[in-house]
């Protein structure tokens, strides 16, 4: 790989660089792709990578084996994971100690190590390649599939797989208007939650008066429990940068910003490195690819405020101020960052732009439904067998995602509900899972696609508790600027708390609905406007759970602390003592190998014994 980066001054330079890069990797006999994303990193994948490098060096195999650390493959739960070529063999749950065996057996002898293969949780069969894994099989991975081909810290990898060719095409073949037209035909809608048509935003920003304009990438990813944006920005930062450059060309901006949450240190790091590398090659700066287009960008970290994902609050935050939304009488496309015309798009929205330009609008529009085109990445989490990132064509039924890809609920339980859209979204019951993931269909059902979080819930999840969870989140995150949001959410939380703690009264349910209406209609920004959704959707689809709490003072899922008691089933308990040692309040007594008992006056109902008992002997009544 070239040490001093040659400046790429024209499209021809770029094409030649790509050719050189491609031919330089042909010499490797084997290629190891190891995931180094946040998830796998948390599973100590760096130790695995180091172990491979050490072993290869020891055996003098460095010349023939290429080790590449990539971003997230979306199946973090199985991490650290790797793909080995030739053979496309997929190994998961790696430990540093496995490196030697993999080199000796698989790389040198071509033998597959059964132990490291993935086991399909539904059929219990071992699976050899990624393509055979049900989790991947039903997906249509247009964006995510690129992650395994690039080291996020290597612009060369990105260029080798065709990176920046969409930019080259734009600068040489497309007028700004033509770019906007192409995006319009593609039908691309914003992936950040609102589903706003991207081309319309760009066109308005382009025609807004003013010389100075900005593009911003929203990488604040506020939905707690969703991580598609993190895996794209962290795993393939140049794709986002290239998309922003194309957008900037279209609207006439020369400066861009990536606003990224500080809780994603790896994404911050990779985006910074990517920007620096692009500058070194002359792909950011003046007269990019000799096309007369100048553009540069900056990375700003968020401060851990959910409301800063909202467009006007985000811009205030970028200006270094407190992140409070402002009324959008004048749209940010005309009056945004520093009162200049500004286009803000989500990470995934930007990432979709280069492939739309490269493959053509028709390619993108060929996937999805009438109103929602292309593919969308979802973060499938919660009480489901396979959790991870799922990229499917818009219009795919929720059922396919939860059952075919997700494998259904864990521990053989039944799926009860699916929460989509994060704190702004809602809960849908099992009988609604035939709904397609489509902006309009989910909205009509009282939920939303949102940014793409899908949380699976089973009979052990209390729907009133879920509503309380989101209200508490939103109460904490409301900036407090407008009264309906601040006081309304407060009051709603109070009522739901009453219900979960056994003080609920039937008339409070109506009050809850009234408050929900007020908060939704009178709040300033999207946080307040959508805050009632989790409550309203659970009230709509799970009224019986509210009734059980209110009328019978009972929590059917056994979650709400004030309404349950913990007991030990003397028949089942074998006296192992785990719970006794685990209880922080010293509430459990019992002799070794004899049934234990919980002293109810000491028990604080922290639930720890229940989670620790391996023999299912703790019962919730």
């Amino acid at each position: 790989m070239p040490k001093v980066k040659p400046r790429v001054k024209s499209v021809k330079d770029l094409t030649e660089l790509r050719k050189r890069l491609r031919s330089s990797v042909k010499n490797f006999k084997s290629k190891l792709t190891i995931c180094g994303g946040t998830g796998c990193h948390a599973s100590r994948s760096q130790d695995v990578i180091d172990a491979f490098k050490k072993e290869l060096k020891k055996r003098k195999l460095e010349e023939g084996v290429w080790v590449r650390a990539t971003g997230c493959h979306g199946f973090c739960e199985q991490g650290p994971l790797m793909i080995l070529e030739p053979g496309n063999i997929f190994y998961c749950g790696l430990k540093p100690g496995d490196a030697g065996e993999i080199i000796a057996e698989t790389i040198l002898k071509g033998e597959v190590i059964e132990r490291l293969l993935y086991t399909d949780p539904v059929t219990s069969k071992k699976v050899r390649t990624e393509a055979e894994i049900p989790f991947y099989r039903a997906q249509d991975r247009q964006l995510l599939a690129q992650n395994r081909h690039v080291d996020p810290c290597s612009i060369e990898d990105y260029i080798a797989i065709g990176g920046y060719s969409a930019l080259a095409k734009t600068l040489t073949e497309f007028s700004p208007e033509k770019v906007i037209e192409e995006v319009k035909i593609s039908g691309l809608r914003g992936r950040g939650g609102g589903g706003f048509p991207t081309a319309r935003k760009w066109a308005e920003c382009r025609s807004a008066p003013g010389e100075e304009k900005y593009v911003i990438c929203n990488a604040d990813e506020g939905d707690p429990g969703a991580y598609m944006d993190r895996s794209i920005l962290e795993g393939n930062p140049h794709l986002v940068i290239e998309g922003m450059m194309i957008g900037a060309w279209a609207i006439g901006a020369r400066q861009g910003y990536i606003y990224v949450r500080n809780e994603y240190p790896l994404a911050v790091k990779h985006a910074r490195i990517a920007m620096q590398q692009a500058r070194e090659y002359g792909l950011l700066g003046d007269d990019i690819l000799g096309g007369g287009f100048s553009f540069d960008m900056e990375i700003c970290r968020g401060g851990g405020a959910f409301v800063c994902g909202e467009s006007t609050a985000l811009m205030a935050s970028l200006e270094g101020k407190v992140g409070e939304p402002r009324p959008k009488d004048v749209h940010t496309v005309a009056n945004g960052l520093w009162h200049k015309p500004t286009t803000l798009n989500n990470v995934e929205t930007w990432a979709n732009v280069p492939p739309i330009i490269s493959n053509g609008a028709a390619w993108f529009a060929g996937k999805g439904t009438r109103g929602s085109k292309g593919t969308k990445i979802f973060a499938l989490t919660g009480r489901v067998k396979n959790t991870g990132l799922v990229e499917v064509a818009m219009g795919t039924p929720l059922r396919t995602i939860v059952f075919d890809i997700g494998g259904g609920a864990i521990n053989g339980r039944a799926v009860k509900a699916v929460q989509t859209g994060g704190p702004s979204g809602g809960c849908l019951p099992l009988d609604r899972l035939d709904l397609p993931v489509d902006f309009d269909a989910l909205y009509d059902a009282g939920s939303m696609v949102g940014s793409g979080g899908i949380v699976v819930m089973d009979e052990k999840t209390c729907m009133v508790d879920v509503a309380k969870y989101f209200l508490a989140f939103l109460q904490d995150e409301s900036c407090g600027k407008c009264v309906p949001c601040r006081l309304g959410i407060d009051r709603m939380l109070e009522i739901v708390t009453d219900i979960t703690e056994g003080r609920g009264r039937p008339e409070q349910i109506d009050l809850l609905k009234e408050l929900a209406d007020t908060v939704a209609s009178a709040s300033l920004c999207g946080l307040g406007k959508t805050a009632p959704n989790p409550v309203l959707s659970t009230l709509r689809y799970f009224p019986e759970e509210y009734e059980a709490h209110v009328n019978e003072k009972r929590c059917p899922a056994g979650v709400c602390r004030e309404l349950i008691e913990y007991e030990i089933d003397a028949e089942k308990c074998n006296g192992c003592g785990t719970c006794r040692r685990a209880c922080p309040y010293d509430a459990i007594k019992g002799k070794k190998k004899e049934a234990h008992v919980i002293a109810s006056h000491k028990c604080q109902k922290c639930g720890i014994c229940l989670s620790e008992c391996k023999f299912d002997s703790i019962i919730v009544t």
Binding site: G39, F75, E77, K321, G453, Y585, S611
Partner: protein, 173 residues
């Protein structure tokens, strides 16, 4: 006290009010909280009124105005971690150490914090100790982790090492 190091943080950012949050992040990273004196200097150097610096430092969760303990345990309370029982982990800390999120133990050994999501949701519930992630946490694993901190003093992670150094430098002034 920390003028020297603050110098490097401010380099290239003077008189640029929009750099306030970035500067505060770096201050927080280095000193683990935002000392009042630093706020004054930042205010003067960036040209932002002190009250605004204070408002910003107060508004964003990433900044802490109070000094934190020698170790920080962060529990993720995002939706994915929540439905997998992250509340049990807060209960564990409360039961074991008697502290709630935002609190520090009396001996200054450990601060408990919460975060909305770390992007490792598939591995939930996730706990971070001094920058190192721990996946699929259970109350008992957390109990051992806390015990190990109390025995060893400070967790031996790269991140912690960096931070102890920073801390020592700060104390020696």
């Amino acid at each position: 006290m920390s003028v020297l190091t603050l110098e490097s943080i401010l380099k290239g950012r003077r008189s640029q009010p929009h750099q306030l949050i970035e500067v505060l992040h770096d201050v927080q990273e280095r000193y683990r909280h935002i000392p009042e004196e630093d706020m004054r200097i930042v205010s003067r150097e960036l040209g932002v009124p002190l009250i605004e610096v204070y408002r910003v430092a107060n508004f964003y969760k990433a900044f802490s105005l109070k000094p934190r303990g020698r170790n920080v345990i962060t529990i993720c309370t995002g939706t994915a971690c929540h439905v997998r029982g992250s509340n049990l982990l807060s209960n564990q800390v409360l039961g074991q150490l008697g502290i709630s999120p935002g609190d520090t133990t009396e001996d200054g050994q450990l601060t408990l914090e919460q975060v909305n999501c770390l992007g490792a949701c598939a591995l939930g519930p996730v706990v971070v100790l001094n920058g190192t992630y721990y996946k699929h946490m259970t109350p008992s694993k957390l109990r051992s982790l806390i015990n190990s901190v109390n025995e060893k003093g400070i967790e031996d992670t790269d991140d912690a090492k960096g931070k102890t150094k920073g801390k020592k430098r700060q104390r020696s002034h």
